[in-house]
Each structure stands twice: as C-alpha cells, then as structure tokens.
C-alpha cells in the first residue's frame, strides 16, 4: 500500500516541472490535476485539486429544518435525490420518527433506486463508455456521447432511455425529475398512482434487459483487459459502505461496515449516530476537499474507498437474484478477495444498475405504493445523523436543530470526499506508469489520468459543496515558473 507521505509536497522544488490538467472533463464539477516532474522527468507529486467552494454547511444554518431536504439537494443536479433523501432521513429523526409508514419507506426506496439507475446509466453510457469503447488513446473528437452515438447508435440510445426511465421514476415519486419535494420529515407527500405505476411497468422489462447487457459489456471489458486493468491506477485499499443487518447490499439504509484489503472486517454494525467514533476528516492546505480516514488506523493507513466497487467488496450478498449472480461472477474474477482494480468500478456500477432495476420491478408490483398513510409523527429531537449509499458512495448528513426549529450545525461528508485519497493515488499511479520519463505532453497521456479519475465517477461539486461549469487545461511550466506549453479543452 502506498503511504500518505508519498503524496505530500516535493521539498526539492528546483529543476522541477509542473503539469496542470485543468479543467477535468467528463466528470461532474470543477477540478484540476497537477503533476510535478523532477529533472529526470520522474513524477514526484500528483494531486487532484478541487477549485471551488460553496459552503452549504454554513449557509443552511439558521434555516428551518423542514427546508433542508429541498435546500441541500441543490448541491447537485446529477444525484440530488441522494441529498434529498439523506437529509429527509435525518429530519425524520428530528421529528422523532424512527420508522416510516410502509408506503413512505417504499416510495423513498423507489425514488432512490430510480436515482441510482439514472445516475449510473449517465456515467457509464455518457461519460465512461467513450474511453472503454474507443480506447484511451483514440481520437479526442470521438471521445464523447455523440461519438458513441455515431458508431454504436443502439448503445447510445439505450443509455439515453435508461437515464430517462430513472428520471421518470424520480418525477413520479418526487414530483420533478430534478430537485423534487417528495420526501418530507416523517414521510412523503405522495404515493404512486396506478396510472404512474402502469406507465413505469410498461418499460421495466426492457430496462432489465438493457441492464443485463450493460453488465455483460462492463464485465467483458474488464475481463478482456485484465492484464492492463489489474494495475491501471489500482492499489490495495480499505473499503466502506452501509450494509443491511444480514450483510446484504442496501443502498438506502443500514449500518456502517469497513473491510481491509483482504476483506477482513475493520468495523461492522456501526449505527449512523456513531460515525464520528470510527471516522475522522483531515484538512490539507492544497484542496477544499477534506480527507476522511478510519480513526483506528489513522490518516496514513485509514483512508478508504467508497462507491460501487466498495459496496461489492463489503456486502455478503445482494438480495435480488440476477444482481447477486453478477456479484458472484465479479467476486470470482477477483479470486474471492476484495477487488482492487480501479476500472472494475465500471463493472460494479453496472451490477448495481441491474440490482436497481430488479428492485424497481419488485416495488412496482407492491400494492403498498398505492397506500395513503404517508406520514408518521414522534417526539421532537435536536440532533440527527443519516447515512445512505449515493450512486458515488456513502453519504453522511449530520445536523443539530435548536428549539426554534433552526439548523445550528451541519456536517456533510459526500461520497467523492471519501474517495479523495484514493483518487489522488490513482492519479499518482497512472502518472508514474504513463508519464514518468516522457518530456512531451500528449492528449492521450492526459486522458489516461482522466480515465483513472472517471472510474470513481466523482462529483466535484458535491465534494466541496461547490459550484460552476466543467471544462481541461494542461500547463507545462519550468522550475522558474515560466509556462512552456499549454493545452486546453473547451
């Protein structure tokens, strides 16, 4: 395992060159990568910088607690449902509700599976597939969803329609495809009408079929390129997610489990309220994004990965048959141990797409969704912690609310933040393997770095609670700070 100090600043700044990739493309949000080369063109430092700052944790202070699920989801336009639901779960506790009505619980789960389905489809088909289908060094003009549509029109169409289907589920449960209001403290504000249910049922078999195909594409890609991928931006690490009490994958609710590189349990069954007992965050001066770590292991050894790869590594099984079979195949491929291949994130992500589709089908046949008992009530509390598995990984929302109903403290740990250390290591690894000793910057070389970052499907806006557009600039400077070469993508 690489130690933390290997990522820290290079002390001998003489005779070094810095390469900056800014902005990163085909990721959500703003970011840049800087790579420092010594006089022999060897990589001495590689970092992912998040260059935005939004401060949601600060400006929701003073706002009434019932506003929070609708307010904090504005962190993101890709997976707002994750923030909406996580905040709603926290506010359930604030209004003293430990158990939702069956209808409310299932409507929220349906919303969440719709969210997982559309977000994963967006990432795989729109953002990642150009690299996987055309190769990391292919013609840049083709490396986008339009390029995919021109060569693989059916695949591009599937991606678009799968995303649309997930968004329609969100619209039916939250009222809008983006930034809805469905989850309220203590329950939901609507059920699923028979008309809405039937409209969604019409296409579910097609979605399942396309999900199976997506798993096959991702699995085949990883298996065919096993030799390259085993090493590409990869390393052994710890993994974290929530799991259900019986060890099943559960994306909506559960307790925290962390495993080490061999799959041994570091901690298990940690309830959300105790998250700060097992996890801590470190701040480093060069990034707005914090670095979380497992307390018992310390910052140097306690960093961990989250997201689809982590979830497949932490859970014992998946409670839907087809996704579980896909999980077993995935597990076999990695020899029954946790899988550490960074690009296997794509495969794991598609296993979850299949799981989400199976769950959606199961829920659509559940009459509880047409129930009318939507809200529960309880005794008011002042502090709450909620955790769920967002598409990109474990999401934590922690709030304190005063007696006048105002939020007085908020702490959000988003998935991408948990992957901060790992993404930096992947960049470092790829930079060392593909850039070291090469004086010229090629576009393909840069794309290798981005491919490694993209595997995590980072949401940089969420990670800093930040704001803006997403575009890539690479700057080559000499040790005097003079710019030698700049390459920019619009």
């Amino acid at each position: 395992m690489v130690t933390q100090t290997m990522l820290e600043p290079h002390t001998q700044q003489d005779q070094t060159r810095r390469i900056v990739i800014e902005p990163l493309t085909r990721v959500e949000g703003h970011g840049k990568v800087s790579i420092l080369l010594d006089e022999n063109n060897q990589v001495t430092e590689a970092r992912l910088h998040i260059v935005e700052f939004r401060g949601f944790e600060r400006f929701i202070q003073g706002r009434p607690f019932w506003e929070v699920p609708v307010l904090v989801q504005r962190l993101c336009g890709i997976c707002p449902v994750s923030h909406h639901l996580c905040a709603a779960k926290a506010m359930d506790q604030i209004v003293g509700v430990d158990e939702l009505t069956p209808t409310a619980e299932k409507i929220r789960r349906l919303m969440h599976y719709g969210q997982i389905f559309q977000s994963h489809a967006l990432h795989f088909f729109y953002l990642a597939s150009p690299d996987l289908l055309f190769g990391f060094e292919s013609e840049p003009a083709m490396r986008n969803v339009v390029g995919v549509a021109s060569v693989y029109p059916d695949l591009a169409r599937q991606g678009v329609l799968m995303r649309k289907y997930g968004q329609e589920i969100i619209r039916a449960t939250a009222g809008k495809r983006i930034h809805g209001t469905g989850a309220v403290p203590g329950g939901v504000n609507k059920n699923l009408s028979v008309v809405e249910r039937d409209a969604l049922l019409r296409d579910i078999d097609q979605m399942l079929d396309w999900s199976r195909q997506a798993v096959a594409i991702a699995a085949e890609y990883v298996e065919k390129n096993a030799e390259t991928l085993a090493d590409f931006g990869s390393f052994e690490s710890n993994y974290l997610s929530i799991v259900r009490e019986d060890g099943a994958m559960d994306l909506y609710d559960g307790s925290l489990r962390a495993v080490d590189a061999d799959g041994q349990i570091i901690f298990d069954g940690v309830v959300p309220q105790d998250y700060a007992k097992v996890l801590a965050e470190e701040v480093r001066p060069w990034s707005y994004m914090k670095f979380p770590f497992i307390r018992s292991l310390g910052p140097e050894w306690g960093w961990y990965r989250v997201g689809p790869l982590a979830r497949l590594n932490t859970c014992q099984f998946i409670d839907t048959p087809e996704a579980d079979a896909a999980r077993e195949k995935f597990r076999d491929w990695s020899g029954g141990r946790p899988c550490h291949s960074t690009l296997a994130y794509h495969w794991a992500r598609m296993v979850e797409v299949l799981h989400a589709a199976e769950k959606i089908r199961e829920l659509l046949h559940d009459p509880d969704l047409q129930g009318t008992d939507l809200m529960a009530t309880g005794e008011r509390r002042e502090e709450a912690v909620a955790i769920l598995e967002a598409p990109r990984g474990t999401l934590f929302h922690h709030y304190r609310v005063d007696r006048q109903d105002r939020v007085v403290m908020a702490n959000l740990i988003v998935s991408t933040t948990s992957n901060n250390e790992a993404m930096n290591r992947s960049i470092r690894k790829v930079a060392e393997d593909y850039l070291s000793g090469k004086p010229e910057i090629s576009e393909a070389m840069l794309n290798h770095v981005e491919v490694a970052i993209r595997a995590y499907d980072p949401c940089l806006s969420c990670a800093t609670h930040a704001y803006g557009q997403m575009p890539l600039e690479v700057r080559l400077t000499n040790s005097a700070g003079e710019t030698l070469d700049v390459k920019r993508r619009p």
């Binding site: 003073g62 009434p64 019932w66 506003e67 699920p69 209004v95 009222g175 309220v184 109903d405």
Partner: protein
C-alpha cells in the same frame, strides 16, 4: 338621487359596475383580471405594491383604490402596462432575498406566479441581497423577513379581522420592515397559528411551521392554474389566501 350603476370601459370592453366599487373589483366581476399583490378581497385597499396600475383616462392609477365612475376609459392589458408591472415585479424580486428553488411557498406564491405570468425568467436588475432577520421564536409560526414584500396584508388582517394588531411597519424607505408588537419577537406576541393573519401572506414570509412541502409538485395552487385564470374563466371564486373574511 344618483344612479347606483355606472358604466365604464376597460380594455375596449364596456362594463357596468356598482357605484362605490373600485376599478379592480368591477373589472374582476366583469371577468377582467388586473394583476395585484397587496390587494386582498374584503380588506381596506392598501395601494402600496402598484402591481395593479392601470391608465384611467390616460393617467396612471392604482386599480385597487380608484373608484369606478361613468365614462372612465381604463387601459389594463396593454404592452406598456405589462412592461411596467414586469419592472415592478422585478424590483420586488431583487429587493428581497427570494430563492424560489427551496422556498416552501414555491407553487403557492403569488409573487412567483405573477413573475411567471409576466415571463420573468431572471430579473434584469442587480440583486440587493439585504440582511433581513428571521424570527423563529414563535412555536408554530415562522416569520422570514427575507421574503417580505411589505404588502401589509398581515398588518391589516391582524388588525381588522383578528383584532390583535400583531404586525406593523417600522422604519422608512429602504429601511422599512415588518415589526411585531413584542420585544421578544413573534414568540412574545399573542399571535396564534390559527389567526387569519398567518394565512394571507402572498409570499413565503409568514408561514405555519412544519407544514412545508406537504402538497406535491403538480398539485400546488399555481400548478393547477396560473394566477388570474380564475377571473378570466368567470369563476370569480376567491382562492384560499384571498378569503380571510369568509
């Protein structure tokens, strides 16, 4: 003895009205909608927001305060007046802190609905971002002055309907703001969550606590029909927040 009925023209349409009615009331009765914000049926007209500005015999007047009379020629739905109202609405939007995206009144808000009616995608004036106080001291009612448009509805209803005088205006010009009759804030007043004053706010300033977002998107007041549609449709039935006297 004076005839009780008058006849006047609004938007080239001849309208009969009862003497003593305002132009706004008479127009509404005739199925002509005049946009308004501070006006509330059954209350003394306030004439402060000027959103109901019309031209009466060529001169600008507030339709909510101007009495009908024979031979008036009223211009209402003209490009000039729509532009004027749009400017007034835009100024209201930038002078407060209005974040529709997470406001619980979104979809029920008359200011937002008027903005949609007047095709305001984004205000052209710079936001003033004033510092405004939120008063959460009442156990069941929230007063968020960020969203106050100084319409005076709560002031009038508390005084004239609830008989409590909880609200009043404090300060002048840009410093004018909504005050309450207790040094300890709303929580120290005798306001009750059941008071009519709590129900008449056209925006998200005065709210019953813990009732937010309970109406799903698609079923909210202005999801069902745009503001003013009930007048054009001839229904004329008052909407919930317009009927504190009933």
């Amino acid at each position: 003895m004076q005839n009780d009925t008058v006849t006047f023209v609004i938007d080239q349409k001849e309208v009969r009205a009862r003497r003593g009615q305002t132009i706004l009331e008479a127009a509404e009765q005739a199925g002509v909608y005049i946009p308004r914000l501070c006006h509330l049926k059954g209350l003394t007209p306030h004439g402060s927001c000027r959103v109901c500005t019309v031209r009466v015999n060529g001169r600008y007047q507030a339709a909510c305060t101007y009495p009908v009379a024979d031979d008036l020629v009223v211009e209402n739905d003209t490009e000039e007046l729509r532009t004027l109202r749009r400017d007034l609405l835009e100024m209201l939007l930038v002078e407060g802190n209005h974040f529709c995206m997470f406001c619980e009144k979104s979809g029920h808000c008359e200011l937002q609905a008027l903005a949609y009616r007047h095709s305001i995608a984004a205000p052209k004036y710079p936001h003033l971002w004033p510092r405004r106080e939120v008063d959460a001291s009442h156990p069941d009612v929230l007063l968020d002055r960020n969203r106050c448009v100084l319409c005076g509805r709560c002031v009038r209803v508390s005084r004239d309907v609830d008989g409590k005088n909880v609200f009043g205006f404090v300060g002048r010009g840009p410093h004018r703001h909504l005050g309450v009759n207790s040094r300890r804030g709303l929580g120290g007043s005798d306001l009750s969550a059941d008071d009519q004053a709590v129900t008449v706010c056209p925006v998200g300033c005065l709210l019953r606590k813990r009732t937010a977002f309970q109406v799903p998107v698609g079923q909210r007041r202005f999801d069902r029909q745009p503001i003013g549609a009930e007048v054009g449709a001839g229904a004329g039935s008052p909407q919930p927040s317009e009927s504190p006297m009933q």
